[in-house]
Symmetry: C2
Amino acid sequence: MMSSAKQGGPVRPATSVWRPLGSDEIQLTGGIWQQKQQLNTEVILEHCETWMERVGWTGNFDRAAAGTIDAGLPGTEHAGIEFVDSEIYKLLEAMAWDLGRGHSASLEDRYQALASRVAAAQEEDGYLHTSFGRPGQPPRYSNLEHGHELYCFGHLIQAAVARLRTGHDDQLPQVARRLADHVYDEFGPKGRVAVCGHPEIEMALVELSRATGERRYLEAARLFVERRGTGTLGPHPFGQQYFQDDLPVRAATTLRGHAVRALYLASGALDVATETGDRALAAAVRHQWASTVARRMYITGGVGSHHQDEAFGDDFELPADRAYAETCAGIASVMLSWRLLLETGEDKYADLIERTLLNNVLASPSADGRAFYYANTLHQRTPGVAADDAHLASPSVASHRAPTGLRAPWFDVSCCPTNVARTLASVALYFATASDDGVQLHQFGDYQISTSLVAGPVTLRVSSGYPADGTIRVTVLEAPSRTPLRLRLRVPGWAHGACEASEPPVARTERSLEFRRIFHAGDEVRVAFPVRARVTYPDTRIDAVRGTFAVERGPLVLALESPDLPPRWSVDELTADPDSIATDEAGATIDVYRCAAAPAEWPYHARPDGRQVERVRTRLIPYHQWANRGPATMRTWLPLAERPAAG
Amino acid sequence: MMSSAKQGGPVRPATSVWRPLGSDEIQLTGGIWQQKQQLNTEVILEHCETWMERVGWTGNFDRAAAGTIDAGLPGTEHAGIEFVDSEIYKLLEAMAWDLGRGHSASLEDRYQALASRVAAAQEEDGYLHTSFGRPGQPPRYSNLEHGHELYCFGHLIQAAVARLRTGHDDQLPQVARRLADHVYDEFGPKGRVAVCGHPEIEMALVELSRATGERRYLEAARLFVERRGTGTLGPHPFGQQYFQDDLPVRAATTLRGHAVRALYLASGALDVATETGDRALAAAVRHQWASTVARRMYITGGVGSHHQDEAFGDDFELPADRAYAETCAGIASVMLSWRLLLETGEDKYADLIERTLLNNVLASPSADGRAFYYANTLHQRTPGVAADDAHLASPSVASHRAPTGLRAPWFDVSCCPTNVARTLASVALYFATASDDGVQLHQFGDYQISTSLVAGPVTLRVSSGYPADGTIRVTVLEAPSRTPLRLRLRVPGWAHGACEASEPPVARTERSLEFRRIFHAGDEVRVAFPVRARVTYPDTRIDAVRGTFAVERGPLVLALESPDLPPRWSVDELTADPDSIATDEAGATIDVYRCAAAPAEWPYHARPDGRQVERVRTRLIPYHQWANRGPATMRTWLPLAERPAAG
């Protein structure tokens, strides 16, 4: 365990097995992640900013500051649902991380302008929300079940922490301190015994406490975690598990209810456990993670199989074609796994971060960065309808509930685009950590690390063609000359221990390799993982995909998309031969058979139907790339072909 | 084609292939249907009446009449959501049909008292709704998308038609005429060009036109049907297909969107087509029925695979564990199929009525008639939680959205219990029809028919142990002495033409048998269908149940329920051998194997998992009987066992 004076990333525990790096310590230098981060800087940030200006969500702050919001006159109505403040805050957080990677005068100006508009709406006593408390609005804290006030505060605080961690204690951190002080007064030990319907403020308060040294914020977070599940929230039509008020956090054995809420709460609970040394609480969260991953997760790392309540289903209730697998839930899962990785040092958490980022989260933004998936289905049965000008003009039409099958530029509940933005802006911070005497590489790609160990500065360059290629080259640019450097690489779980190294490691497990020696500038360590396409079968209890298989290639889940099929073939009328897969540059190829189902008035028969009538070789693409070639159908789970009779 | 002066049942077209019977012409005499109808008379009607009194929905009418509803004072708020009026109307319809089967002074008193309270709330100009138009309420017709005003009117009108058809032109029919006149003025040829977000009034107005001879009501219904799909409704967050405003009725090729809405609309459209001789419209509805039945229907006849919007999914998107299969949608499907049966005389419509009534609709009420399923899943993964006193006290907790897994006594949206009540009260009217020279038996059970043909009166007794037993005995009690009687029986589709008859029919097809001769009192015709348990395989395009089979027995879908398994076995960890099924008295028995899935941290593996470790013989029960033995898990689709190696 160690502590650090570094600036740190989104999470900086007082104690952890490994020390997270700050944005001054790790930078992407190439590959898919740099390309996506570039897209974020150049397109997504502005896309979000422009949309929120257009639909009036940013303007809510101006009108709140001027006292002209919800003033009873036509045109004064608060724009958007009651938690759109949080989208501005997630954008501010994204901008802060992006600025932390490298100064941009124009982005700094945009950031400052936006932060000022937010700051202007803060009230005397620190409260800041555009939907509550003014004449004509519902009173403050009058609807804790659904009002999302503390949820929004949490996002403001996270944005402020990003600003602090990137070296600026300016306007937004000041606003956040005053807001957090208000929350402590209102909900702290002498305040009302209550929680917010949507967890989020818990982890935000812990991080602000970590960033400022103010223990009261941690105490408020602890109280919110302990009160959860004690019935402080009124009845919810979906049941109390929807917002995790059915059971105390430490009594629950799995994640349940609304997936984003469940994962934000678990993250906050672990943060509290870490800072207070509450081992029982930490163990409960680890157990919940494990049972969820074993029974309630899609192969992409996506979670949530219920559209209606955006919730986890029962164990093994994982229909591919009704996968909700909300982008924000994937991001929340990464946030939880990252905390558990820092806490325990166990590689399984980094495995899940890899799977979730590369498959679930990266599937959300379109290749051009101007449209997003909210839900990430694993099986698209009908080609979607392209978003048109009407969608652009009206976010309520491009609702997250509209089953268009295509990404949409904006949503009435638009949590995902800004969540993608803050994740891409800070993604490198999840790639590696440091210890007193070494560096740990958890994610692979192309990046450079410059950090200080006890024995002195270290600079490493990691380069690879990952995830398409499995060879990782670590070049030492600078290292202590007299003290051995400990260099640790995760062996991805999907490799099942298979890897080749350019030199013998000092320690090797199925999940990791460790090198330890004096390194000189120019020294290189090469490790290669087999990214061959491989077949994966689902647990028999996942009824919805019985009799099918998926194809994975390295960390990527592959998908069959209709543009790769001959005309008139359908992804819903074929089988595939798992023995025929071959790895190709980007994905794989496979033999598929077209199946002719006899026309029938009724889809249930005395004998199994479907006959393989035609064979073709087709491509499988990385799942996260799907739906970038126009409206299409797609499936990740391929029905097993019947073996043709020999001869 | 013929017309009739009989009173008729819920539907009485001016022209039809066969003439529907009235409640004076057919009565149940035994068997499962009489038992359920008795339960309705003795328990369900009063259960609904008591609940609606308790939760204030009936009181809304009193307060509306007194002008004290939504008066701005505490306690004056309208109770329940804005369409609870319709539940009172469906109860009144149920009572009317029940009274039509036989007089009961006490039920007549309750009926009159309730009808008077409704009548008192009617306004000067005929308008009648407890949620709109008074000071403090939204203006009339200010929210046609979601307000359900015309939907509620439709149910009032259907209740009035039931009263007329059972021989009483009293208070409620008068109220309905004034209301329908108001609707004609407001929305007729000179009124506003608009429709209701929830179809229902269309078929109600046609039936009132049929019952009263007033053509203006038909004209209003025709306008509502023709306006649908022309964009008169504002944008819906689920998309315009949700309330069928995406396409004109005659342009649609399948049912889509909210299932109850889609089926009520199709029923109303067919009624309009029948009365106006619009063959193209009738053909469009027939086509929609056919494509829906072939691709969007569960084996129980249930429809709707989306919980979120209570809607049809894509073709073949039919997950068993996320089946919504709303009871009301099943009832609506019966209403549509009945209309199509009268229109065409084709037995496939009677087949679907049988399947849907015996499996989807009958699954809703508990054996004691005091709790109901709103959604009818085909696979229950976790035992439900029994409804407790808290549920009884608060319908909003026993919400239709709460995934309790058990039937609930009442719901905040409580459309299903009253819909079950009106269906059970009138169910015999769907069993048989008459023509000039004969009688057609579409459904089997125990009932007596007394009607008049051209040649004179006919009385038949139908007796059977159906659906458990397949032998149907038709005893002639009275028949014309000099004119041959034509007696037609449907051969159920599931029998694939297999049946034995006690005498040679004059005509026989795979779907029907026809006898025609002079019958004398005491003559008996016996027909036997093979109700042996049989294996049914799903279309390969229904991904969610690939690699499984169902067991059916006669018209019944069977289910495996956990109380029939050894302790610690789970319905989710077994396979079953289709070659081992044997018919038993009530259902079937089958060999099932317990499958041990190795404990795993991640549910996706390089090799298929699951090993059959233990075999046991178990019962399968009729699906509609499930969840009457306490909290339980259940599945209708059984994973195919692997064949053990020979030797």
